[in-house]
Symmetry: C2
Subunit: 515 residues, 2 copies
């Protein structure tokens, strides 16, 4: 067995049977070995950021890593932005980065670069596999490490000759170690501070349905308030699920939400901080005199901790759940508000919503709170261009669930190539482009940072209207059927049609903003 065959068989044996790939010459033995291991499904992408973002979306929906197959340092570089997002989302992910054969490294061939340095910036674990005889063990450790609690990005650098040489062996991936339990003393501490001026700040497992139910029981019994992190990895929402507000993105709004809080209890979350620094605002968003407590760290069993807490402080309490309710189908102008109402009115059962709508998405949470239960995936790491790839990966992970990809226009253009993979794999993804013809979020930020605004040359750098992007043409060029909606009625009609037809669709929702 050659190294590449052992890599793929070890991956498959460890439950990693999807590989989002953009291979080059140094990965050709991996590609050839796909014919020997039919259990591995390779999904081709046109750009590495699609592969890494898809692996992120896949992991969010399955809890298991997908592999990526990337070509040397530049290929890994192209995947960095979405690996950053995956790292911040604490999802399991295994990168296989091909490299030159060992003897070729010293020749400083044109594609030689410091792969390990780039990998280190986005990975929790990096290893360069140096011997075919050990490559199976290396892969097994990559999978096990990626799959730990919390999940992380593991990057295996795989020299070409380690792939092509014979003498490799498949290694067994050890079973996943369960998450650590929160010690009783911590439960004691938190139980002692629950009350009307306390907020439970939820992320990770704490915003699954189980986590939210337990947290809502605590809230119902103690008067504590619930808030979720601004950009959760995967949040359960909809009718029958507690409706928990996500902390607003804008620091002023977030600080208002946290004003008066005396005890902030972190459950799988980090202390809330502003996304960016602003000249006259603090970076920490909780009040200065607020006491911060940690119920569970990322990777600890936050759901069990919440359940234990509920059992202890609110055994009889009934969590408040979202009632089933949907907005009326709107008519007239297509605005962020009416777009949200269309989504809320029509969101199908068990939908996976991938939300990179940014400024155009501010009404989405309210409009969908009573829709049928669904999962909500967000831009955890803040590096735009994750939405279309993550929707792709989520659809690969859950072929029986509809994926709704709500995508800002400027951000869509970083990884628009994802649409081609959606077409190629016939994935059931409905993309709605929130088309406002601008980097709208930056117009706000230009003011927020205190920069003098209004200058014409500065404004040009935030404008996407010259020339306008034609997303219908772009989707068509990538093999995805597409339509354009300029009224709420058109969006409703096209959204409903896309949801019942199989395969991917894109709707260019031309938004009237400022209204």
């Amino acid at each position: 067995m050659n190294g590449a065959q052992a890599v793929i068989r070890t991956l498959v044996g460890g439950g990693v049977d999807i590989c989002f790939a953009n291979p080059g010459t140094s990965e050709m033995h991996f590609v050839a070995a796909l014919d020997d291991v039919p259990e591995m499904r390779a999904v081709l992408t046109l750009f590495e950021g699609v592969a890494t973002g898809a692996a992120d979306g896949y992991a969010r929906m399955t809890g298991r890593p997908a592999a990526t197959l990337l070509h040397l340092g530049p290929g890994l570089g192209n995947g960095v932005a979405n690996l950053h997002n995956a790292r911040r989302a604490a999802v399991p992910l295994v990168n296989v980065v091909g490299d030159h054969a060992l003897a070729h490294k010293r020749l400083d061939a044109p594609l030689e670069s410091d792969i390990d340095a780039i990998a280190g910036a986005v990975s929790g674990w990096v290893r360069r596999s140096l011997a075919t005889s050990a490559v199976g063990e290396d892969v097994a450790e990559a999978v096990a490490t990626a799959s730990g609690a919390p999940g992380q990005v593991a990057t295996l650098v795989l020299p070409a000759d380690v792939s092509w040489s014979e003498g490799a062996e498949v290694a067994a991936v050890p079973g996943r170690r369960p998450a650590a339990l929160v010690p009783p003393a911590v439960l004691d501490e938190v139980a002692g501070v629950l009350g009307g001026s306390t907020v439970l700040f939820l992320a990770g497992e704490a915003v699954t349905e189980e986590g939210l139910l337990a947290a809502a029981q605590v809230a119902a019994g103690t008067g504590a308030r619930l808030l979720a992190t601004t950009f959760p990895t995967r949040m359960a929402r909809g009718a029958g699920v507690p409706d928990v507000l996500k902390l607003p993105y804008a620091p002023q709004a977030a600080m208002k939400e946290l004003a008066g809080v005396e005890h902030l209890v972190l459950v799988g979350a980090k202390e809330p901080v502003a996304f960016f620094a602003y000249p006259d605002l603090p970076g920490r968003l909780a009040p200065e005199d607020c006491a911060v407590h940690v119920l569970s760290r990322p990777g600890e069993d936050g759901v069990a901790a919440l359940r234990a807490l509920a059992e202890r402080v609110a055994p009889e309490a009934t969590p408040v759940l979202s009632e089933p309710h949907r907005p009326e189908l709107p008519t007239g102008a297509l605005t962020p508000a009416s777009m949200a109402d269309v989504v809320g009115a029509l969101l199908p059962e068990r939908a996976i919503v991938v939300d990179e709508a940014l400024t155009s998405g501010i009404h989405l949470s309210a409009a969908t709170a009573g829709a049928p239960p669904h999962d909500w995936l967000t831009l955890t790491g803040g590096a735009i261009g994750q939405g279309l790839p993550a929707a792709t990966g989520a659809a690969v992970a859950c072929p029986d669930r509809p994926v709704v990809s709500l995508q800002a226009d400027g951000s869509a253009m970083y990884t628009i190539q994802a649409l081609w993979t959606q077409a190629r794999e016939r994935l059931d993804v409905t993309t709605v482009i929130c088309d406002n013809g601008a980097y709208a979020i930056l117009a706000g930020e230009l003011q927020n940072v205190g920069a003098r605004s209004g200058g014409e040359r500065a404004g040009q750098l935030l404008d996407l209207g010259s020339p306008g992007l034609d997303f219908v043409a772009l989707a068509t060029g990538l093999g995805v059927p597409a339509t354009r909606a300029t009224t709420a009625e058109e969006l409703a009609e096209q959204f409903a049609a896309a949801l019942v037809e199989p395969g991917p669709h894109l709707i260019d929702a031309v938004l009237r903003t400022g209204s």
Copy 2:
């Protein structure tokens, strides 16, 4: 003056008056300062790989650095592949990478990452600017370092508060130090080995018109042969210029070209090595018993050395120059050969050819050798996705020259967003997509590396035909007028029309391969 203003003014003072930009929140003060310094032209890109590739193309044509403006680690990551190419091309380039304010760094906000590690992998010089009072000096050093001989990538990490704080000063950029001269003893050594079994292997300045003329004079007088590096940064070609063969990409062909060579003289070039390792081939391409001599290293004055050598060994010799000649306009099937003949027949005066045609481009050199003088830019670093951005930057650099961008289809999809910037800036770029519906180069590599080929699942990973990419639709969506050619006559007609119309055009050349 705030830090951002000093950054831009120092850049402009140092001759860096183009900035290829994809900014985010941490760059908003830089953006705002554009209104204060009208001498700086900011060119917006939709994706950072376009910005870095454009800066590479700009530098190849001007010899001066452009700046890029990138957003934090993920933005730099998106630029890595083309920064790798720029590094390998030894062009001057200054990255300005915004980062969080200093006090915000310790909060580990979502977009926090190890920018410096990523920057180090693609830069010859990295500095984090830590004080507004010194930021002008930091920028001046970045420009000076980038502009040295050889050129290099200099990356300045610019924290937001260093940008927004007052108290900055403009610094003067020192003049460019001339390239070092080759010592007489080296000339003695090389002069002693010139003859029929000697090859002068040329790269960098040695493949400018001046360099080629001097090298051809040496060749004419001594019987030495000339070969150019496989992927030169910028090579002078056409009628009146010596026609020098580029070493073939395929290692077998390259070794054949070098067979029997007893003395290999490197002029601005590194010793030729295979792009990739293959199981049964050596990495070094010159014969084992070939003596390698270095006339000039990258960054030394290779042109002066070649002239001195010519003066010494061949003062009376006349260099052989390409005669003006063009292929006939072809008819019938559109193939790599007929495509090359169309380009050769119609290439305009003073064209800049950006060649990322890869396998489809094998006939281009022969077909254009007698065309009017032109410059030829290639994929020096081997990271595909450089062509469209480099064409964009070359057109910004030389608004009075036509740019012809010959682009493989699969490679085009890494940075297709470049077309939008071409439309926005109304750049005179004619793009020909070499559309063969496959990663054709990899089909060859799959065999070259000795992998069993023919497997269906492996073959699928090299196929771009399912669904087919519609480059006319993609270009239209990005604002570039586009047509499709399926015969040689259609390509000729469309190519001629595109060359006379101002602004960018794209032709999807649907190639019949294997004929």
